[in-house]
Amino acid sequence: MAPNGPTGGPTGGPIGLVPNGIAVGPSGRPRRKRRGRGWLTAYAMESILLALVLSLVFLAPGFATWGNLLNVLRTISMLGIIAFGMTAVIICGEIDLSVGAGAALSGCIVAWFSGALAAPLGEVAAVIVGVAAALGAGVLTGMFAGKMRQAFNVPTFIVTLALYTALRGFANLITGGYPLTSFPDWFDFLGAGTLLGIPFPVYVFVLVFAVMHLLMTGTNFGRAVYAVGGNAEAARLSGIDVFFVKTMTLAVTGLLTALSGVLIASQIGSGTGTTATGMELDVIASSIIGGTSLMGGKGRIWGTLLGVLFLGCIANGMTLMNVSEFWQQVVRGGTILGAVLLNQILERARA
């Protein structure tokens, strides 16, 4: 009997034990209790990532060095911080295309405040005000998309497509088209520095992962996100405020985007209107590789972590192996498609 079939027996009889079936947890997370082949289906993404890393260790010269691995982690941190928020947005049935532009704008805002307020307030206060303004702008941008969805029923695809252009415009208006290098020297630490030998952004990345994972699996809000994405009307009739949930996930993503933007600006040492171009697609791709469904209602923060690691390792490995940038693009495309197909096949195998 298929556990995902529309009905059980006509008499409502016991549905029986499920051979090779996967029970669904509160976050749509498979419960792992089978052996043998079942183990491989349950941990398919993990297994593939492991296989990838192992083969890169042997194939890519210099991959398995401490310095290179830290470099990979630093690179994916900027992407991953946003991807954890994006996953929540996609699970509740929306999308945010504006994160690349949002990250650029955030860096420019910090740079502008650092320059303009350094004289009256002092360097430290100027940077703090700048970061607060950038984070605030990120939250407001997300809320704006949510409110447009609620008040005028404009799909977030459209609103964030508009923001995708507009935010980058604002970023360039702030900088006048040139990189703003008004940061104090110590500001480099956030994006480029290390703490106890590990790049600082990695700490932020791990913290954001932990918070988002807890939010999505251990709180009422997280449950509401899955319910809203799975069936908005059922959620509404259960007394869940659908638009509050959607707006909050967008606001959280806006916040994380701004945070990532600050780290990027710090790493490159300037606020630049053209940074993070195309980043939104990598962010969405890592969510999808991690098993998040664009139809909503399904996905895991853990899966997104795997997706981010996967994209990071593959890009780094290919660079080390001297694969041309053009072939890298082709491989990345194939990876996205392959991951989605794999998820479809696994879904059927579990059913």
Partner: protein
Amino acid sequence: MQGSVEFSAVTKTYGPIRALADFTHRFGSGRVHALMGKNGSGKSTLIKILAGAILPTAGDFRLNGVPAHFTCPRDALAAGIVTVHQELSLVPGLSVAENIFLGRLSRRRLGPVSVIDWPRVHADAARLLTEMDIGDIDPGQPVSDLSVGQQQTVEIVKAMSFEPAVLLLDEPTSALAAREVDHLFALVRRLRARGVTILYITHRLNELFEIADTCTVLRDGHLVGAIEMADATPEIIVEMMFGDVAKARRPARRGAVADDPVLSVRGLSRRGVFENISFDLHRGEILGFAGMLGAGRTEVLRAIFGADPLDGGTIVLDGVPVQGPTPRRMKELGLGYTPENRKEVGLVQQLSIHDNLCLASLGRIAPRGMTSRRRERPHVARQIRDLAIKAADPLLPVSSLSGGNQQKVVIGNWLNTGPKVMFFDEPSRGVDIQAKQQIFEIMWAEASRGVSSIFVSSEPEELLDVADRILVLRHGRGVAEVAPGETTLAQLFRICMEGHP
């Protein structure tokens, strides 16, 4: 256009269920034949067989004496049998003419390519409309600009463009206003005058006497009989539909219901949907809402629950006057609502049974926002035990359950909120007899614990079995209040259909 249809021993079985059993009957040409029967009597099955949508398990039928073997709807269409379904199937963004000739628009050559011959399409549509004496519809108008009644007319014009010998009308009036119904009947009479045989399904008894020539009644898949409308009375037809129904097996209920109203509704209105609805629901009472499809029962419940907007009226729930209800607010005040279409809006199919049972009570089980499986488990286990939900593992997707068990999950989701008032909207639809009885027992058990309920059902016999008191709605108005002990099924059915006993 000749179209007599003759069935001989047509049977359709689904597993052990005989949806239609040995149906033998002749529908004479050029007349309006009404098909009557309550839900599940087999009339839809009959219509689907005739329309080629399903194949009979046994038996055959003849069209004008010629054996008909339809394997798909297109075969039926080619033989001149056209169906107008209850739900409109027009494309709103396209014009009237385009809709009428959808998929078979006239073409002409333009040099090397074949293009749509718009002048001809519009001329053909205009001719059809004129032939049927329809003056108020322009072939070039988009369908989305038309009223529901006009859209229904376009459906029928579209059906007529196939030049049918037999026209199947499945509850064509359920969405229409009275004036539009008159217009439709005029159209049906014109078609009959042209020799078209019409099979007409309706739940509205009064319509039969206005439009039908004969009435054929089905019950539990069997033909009860056919009667000429000239010889019929409403009593005869209701008697044919229901026969001798065994009286309810209601459990020994506590006798009187307390006097204090838990829910008071006065003058509730929503423009075009329902109007001036007033009632009191008392502590521990089960109030039935009776009425035909489209009478406004579900709409009233949804409006009180805050799922749909309201235009006026007052709601007092447990002593608290409520302005502008929302599902969230009403849930906090102790109101629960199990919707009629559980698959679409009652459950999140991707989530587990466990999560669906906690959907409405998230904030109640974990008041500070942090939730966990462990904390929820006792609530889930209690509902699974009390409601006898047959689930191998609560962490399986809810979609793995049968219809009856899914319905119990919807109910359990709300019982977990500790409601004072429950709205049960068609809780017994699409579930088997055993689950149905269990669901009624749950309702009685909740009532004896002091929970008040409103119970909507399209089966009048269920309302007589389950409810303490029944409010009858018709065309969005409360028309009568009856006591189950003092009302027969036939009486209740007549009130539902005609608005008076």
